[in-house]
């Protein structure tokens, strides 16, 4: 399933979902970004290279999107193309990956700035011009200006930008806001799926893959909210998970206490309950890769629940010993 060496915890960095050809295209796409950017904007190029390297937990930018917990931005169009049982158009797939990498970094750059996570993002903000241009340019050789693909491109790309902006203005994210705003941030992947469907003449499959991508985007965003809760709390960011904490914690209780008491477990339960719906949609895609992916994600989630749950249990034990909330731990 997932191969990983020299990492802690295990299964964090490498993903066997990237079969050798796909990994080759990914590596090539990264090299292309570096060479294009360094050629056209050498000063900015170096700053962007450093930023992309820092984003990756392995220190190798090419590994960043391969992490098993990452939303499969590059995998979905590849799996979609394979599900058509047609000869793969490798040049097109390479362009899809190059475009997707640029689109992803464009979103990451803006999202980090909006979240307040970004330390160097403001300095490299002009790179948004490069990322956006390359994201779009890759498709121009395949679809003429009047092609319906561009309507999808425009609609989904603007929807993603709107979502990033709207999410920052929200004071609370319930289910409606989560579905209408938070998930839309990830839905630019629908552009790559549309391009793939049009390129292979399989528009009939587009809606199903979109449905799966949206469902998976929701699931992945929910997981992102769960695992980022403490950083989001520190940065004053509103998320679905933190909004639920505010709604369900006891009066005077801290978010930390709620997470320890029930929040983490309820977040894991919600994710686990979402898997059957993902599987239901996935079955219609006739993609063994998607089904294997869901198996792996479910397994990874169970491992996370066990490992992190044990750690939280330890914190609860210590809190109990300290008598926090009852016979408090006194300052000297």
């Amino acid at each position: 399933m997932i191969v990983c060496e020299n990492s802690s915890p295990p299964l964090l960095y490498a993903s066997a979902f990237y079969e050798p050809k796909l990994r080759e295209l990914l590596d090539h796409g990264h090299s292309r970004i570096e060479s294009d950017l360094h050629r056209s904007a050498p000063f900015l190029g170096q700053l962007v290279s450093d930023w992309m390297t820092r984003l990756s937990p392995t220190g190798d930018a090419r590994d960043y999107l391969c992490q098993p917990r990452m939303f499969p931005t590059l995998l979905l169009p590849w799996w979609m193309a394979k599900s058509f049982d047609l000869e793969l158009d490798i040049a097109f797939q390479a362009d899809v990956i190059y475009s997707s990498l640029n689109g992803y970094y464009h979103i990451r750059l803006l999202d980090n700035l909006m979240d307040g996570h970004g330390s160097t993002e403001l300095q490299i903000l002009p790179a948004a011009a490069f990322f956006h241009t390359q994201f779009q340019l890759a498709y121009q050789r395949y679809f003429e200006a009047s092609h319906p693909f561009w309507e999808v491109f425009q609609g989904e790309w603007f929807s993603s930008a709107e979502a990033v902006a709207r999410e920052v203005s929200l004071e609370c994210i319930g289910i409606p806001e989560f579905e209408q705003v938070s998930i839309k941030k990830v839905c630019a992947v629908k552009i790559t799926l549309a391009a793939t469907a049009y390129r292979y003449g399989r528009i009939d499959q587009m809606t199903l893959w979109w449905q799966f991508a949206e469902a998976l985007a929701g699931w992945a965003q929910m997981m992102d909210d769960l695992f980022d809760w403490h950083q989001d709390l520190q940065h004053g960011k509103v998320s679905y998970f933190l909004s639920r904490a505010q709604q369900t914690k006891e009066a005077g209780e801290s978010v930390e206490s709620w997470v320890l008491r029930e929040g983490f477990n309820s977040g894991i339960c919600e994710l686990q309950q979402g898997v059957p719906e993902l599987r239901r949609i996935a079955r219609q895609l006739k993609s063994p890769e998607v089904e294997s992916y869901l198996d792996a994600r479910e397994e990874l989630l169970a491992e996370d629940a066990d490992r992190i749950g044990a750690g939280l249990s330890t914190l609860r034990e210590i809190a109990t010993i300290f008598g926090i909330g009852s016979n408090k731990m006194q300052a000297v």
């Binding site: 802690s8 915890p9 964090l12 984003l55 990756s56 937990p57 960043y64 992490q67 917990r69 990452m70 939303f71 990451r108 999202d111 980090n112 996570h117 941030k185 990830v186 985007a217 992945a220 965003q221 997981m223 992102d224 695992f227 980022d228 809760w229 403490h230 950083q231 005077g252 209780e253 801290s254 930390e256 206490s257 997470v259 320890l260 008491r261 996370d304 490992r307 992190i308 044990a310 750690g311 939280l312 249990s313 330890t314 914190l315 609860r316 034990e317 210590i318 809190a319 109990t320 010993i321 300290f322 008598g323 926090i324 909330g325 009852s326 408090k328 731990m329 006194q330 300052a331 000297v332």
Partner: protein, 74 residues
């Protein structure tokens, strides 16, 4: 389980769990000294209980929530 007027509350405990591995290393090795360093005092019973804790599992909490993972996953 939450806050109190003096000493450590759950927020501080959580913060230490995420960012202060040295505190828990010391808590495991010498609970009384660790607590004294943190400006806290404990009963002998509390110190005995603190020696029984599985501190290793805290690493997973720090990795998951303390910025030890890759950050954004979407």
């Amino acid at each position: 389980m939450d806050k109190h007027e003096h000493g450590m509350d759950v927020q501080q405990l959580f913060k230490k769990g995420l960012h202060d591995k040295a505190f828990f290393d010391q808590l495991q090795a010498d609970p009384a000294k660790a607590l004294e360093s943190a400006g806290l005092k404990a009963t002998p019973e509390q110190i005995a209980s603190l020696k029984q804790i599985n501190y290793k599992s805290l690493v997973d909490v720090a990795t998951a929530f303390g910025g030890g993972t890759a950050g954004n996953i979407t």
